[in-house]
């Protein structure tokens, strides 16, 4: 089950990335959250034919990934994961939207193709933005911010605990799966008719684990869903970063920089 192992690996490598120290890592988590959201919303607000106007936004991931030392290999792998759905919609655009948008030399380019490329490129930009966010922000800082945004505390704590136990259960599932395939020599992979007891076992074991976790929590005085979060002060560089990201992004949305170029040259 390479699948399960690689997922565990994914959490692990992000965990390592987010605990590095760089200027971007040191920024206030809220600032990073806001600028990421702003970036995604702006990207998505372009209509489907505006590929050219999206291009300058590539500076955002390029600069941030370099500053935070996030490797491109992780980035490309994730973009590939997000691709299938985008491809489905994009290809259908090629099929259905066949009017010619413009002609390069003698080669007609359809609107469908333009929107296809633009959908793929948007996918890349959005995935990159989210990846950068989690690669430069330790998980507990993210959840702290959720608390400060008054997300229900029970939900945030739940979120933290699920994140923690995903790693544990993935390890268990992958060990069970290995034990399974070692004795299922003639078949490839898990058979559907065994899925009930296979997953059922894992589920009951998880249930018993929950009981033990609950005991461990109670022993350390857990009896309320009280809110707890630490306030991190905003610094000058946080405000500078917010401005440095949002100004260009908003300006690029309002002005068509390509047009300015054409006007100048």
């Amino acid at each position: 089950m390479a699948n399960i192992r690689s997922k565990t690996q994914d959490i692990y490598s992000l965990e390592q990335l987010s605990s590095k120290s760089s200027r971007v890592h040191a920024l206030h988590p809220m600032v990073k959250l806001i600028s990421t959201l702003l970036f995604v919303v702006i990207i998505v607000s372009f209509n489907r034919y505006e590929f050219v106007r999206l291009i300058p936004f590539v500076f955002y991931p390029v600069i941030l990934m370099a500053l935070s030392e996030t490797p491109w290999s992780i980035m490309l792998r994730r973009a590939a994961l997000a691709l299938p759905f985008a491809l489905l919609a994009g290809i259908s655009n090629i099929l259905f939207d066949t009017d010619t948008a413009f002609v390069i030399g003698y080669l007609p380019v359809s609107f469908g193709l333009v929107s296809f490329i633009s959908i793929l490129f948007r996918t890349f930009l959005c995935v990159a933005a989210v990846l950068i966010l989690v690669a430069v922000t330790p998980f507990n800082q993210l959840t702290n911010q959720l608390r400060r945004l008054h997300a229900p505390d029970i939900f945030v704590t739940l979120f933290e605990m699920i994140y923690r136990y995903i790693g544990v259960l993935l390890d268990e599932a992958s060990a069970m799966y290995t034990a399974y395939i070692l004795r299922s020599t003639e078949h490839k992979g898990l058979q559907m008719r065994h899925m009930g007891s296979f997953a059922g076992q894992l589920l009951i074991r998880s249930y018993d684990r929950a009981e033990r976790v609950y005991n461990a929590m109670k022993c350390r005085g857990y009896n309320s869903l009280a809110s707890r979060s630490k306030v991190i002060p905003l610094t000058g560089s946080d405000i500078f970063y917010l401005a440095a990201v949002s100004l260009p992004v908003i300006l690029l949305r309002v002005f068509d920089i390509n047009k300015l170029f054409t006007a100048v040259f």
Partner: protein
């Protein structure tokens, strides 16, 4: 000081897991709890911290009788380290886990921070602070789990099979660590050599009752006694 008087514990399904058990552990004393699988060790430990409610009998800690109203007071004084550290480390980062108990006590963030720092430094694991428990070694997880209890400033510590999962070196590290901590403690274990090294006194359990309570050396090397308890083995 923990004083246990004639407690019996019955599970909802009717299993009588503990029957009429009494003993006392003084401050600073180190006691091993030995018994076959299913003898009732875990059940006994869980009732000491009020997770399971005894059917009859009383438990008191530092003179405070364990009841509904004193539950928090008792849990603050008696810290329990669970058998599987993965059950005890449930927050994303180790420092959150260590801060979990003190925060629940309602301490201010400054004091919580202090507690976390001193637990980390006392156990010599400052480097684990911002790490997630996701990829710690078994030995590191075990020590982190102890830190989560230490930060509550307990007077008494309870361990359920602390040497499980450890390689010989980490096991040795744990023994060194325990010899440095001043707390009174009760340690359920199958590792007789470990009990011998760490605990001068042993409580032997059999089928939910106390079969013997005395000097560790005198009990675990006595083949007849060990055999009667169903844990016959040569060291």
């Amino acid at each position: 000081m923990i004083a246990v008087n004639n407690i019996s514990v019955t599970y909802p399904d009717g299993t009588k897991a503990i029957r009429d058990v009494s003993f006392t552990i003084n401050d600073g004393e180190s006691v091993a709890l030995i018994g076959a699988n299913g003898a009732g060790k875990t059940t006994l430990l869980l009732s000491l911290v009020g997770v399971l409610k005894p059917y009859t009998g009383t438990i008191s800690v530092d003179g405070i009788t364990l009841e509904r109203q004193t539950l928090n007071e008792v849990r603050r004084r008696v810290g329990m380290v669970f058998q599987n550290p993965d059950d005890q480390l449930f927050m994303p980062m180790i420092n959150d886990d260590i801060a979990f108990g003190p925060r629940n006590l309602g301490l201010s963030e400054d004091i919580v921070e202090d507690r976390v720092n001193s637990a980390l430094s006392e156990l010599g694991i400052g480097h684990l602070r911002g790490r997630s428990s996701l990829r710690l070694s078994s030995g590191e997880k075990r020590i982190a789990a102890i830190a989560t209890v230490l930060s509550m400033n307990p007077t008494m510590m309870i361990f359920d099979e602390p040497t499980a999962f450890l390689d010989p070196k980490s096991r040795r590290g744990l023994i060194k660590l325990l010899s440095k901590l001043p707390h009174g403690r009760l340690i359920a274990t199958h590792d007789l050599a470990f009990a011998d090294e760490v605990c001068p006194r042993t409580i032997l359990m059999k089928n939910g009752t106390i079969f013997a309570d005395g000097k560790t050396r005198e009990l675990i090397y006595d083949a007849r006694i060990m055999d009667e308890c169903g844990i016959a083995d040569t060291l």
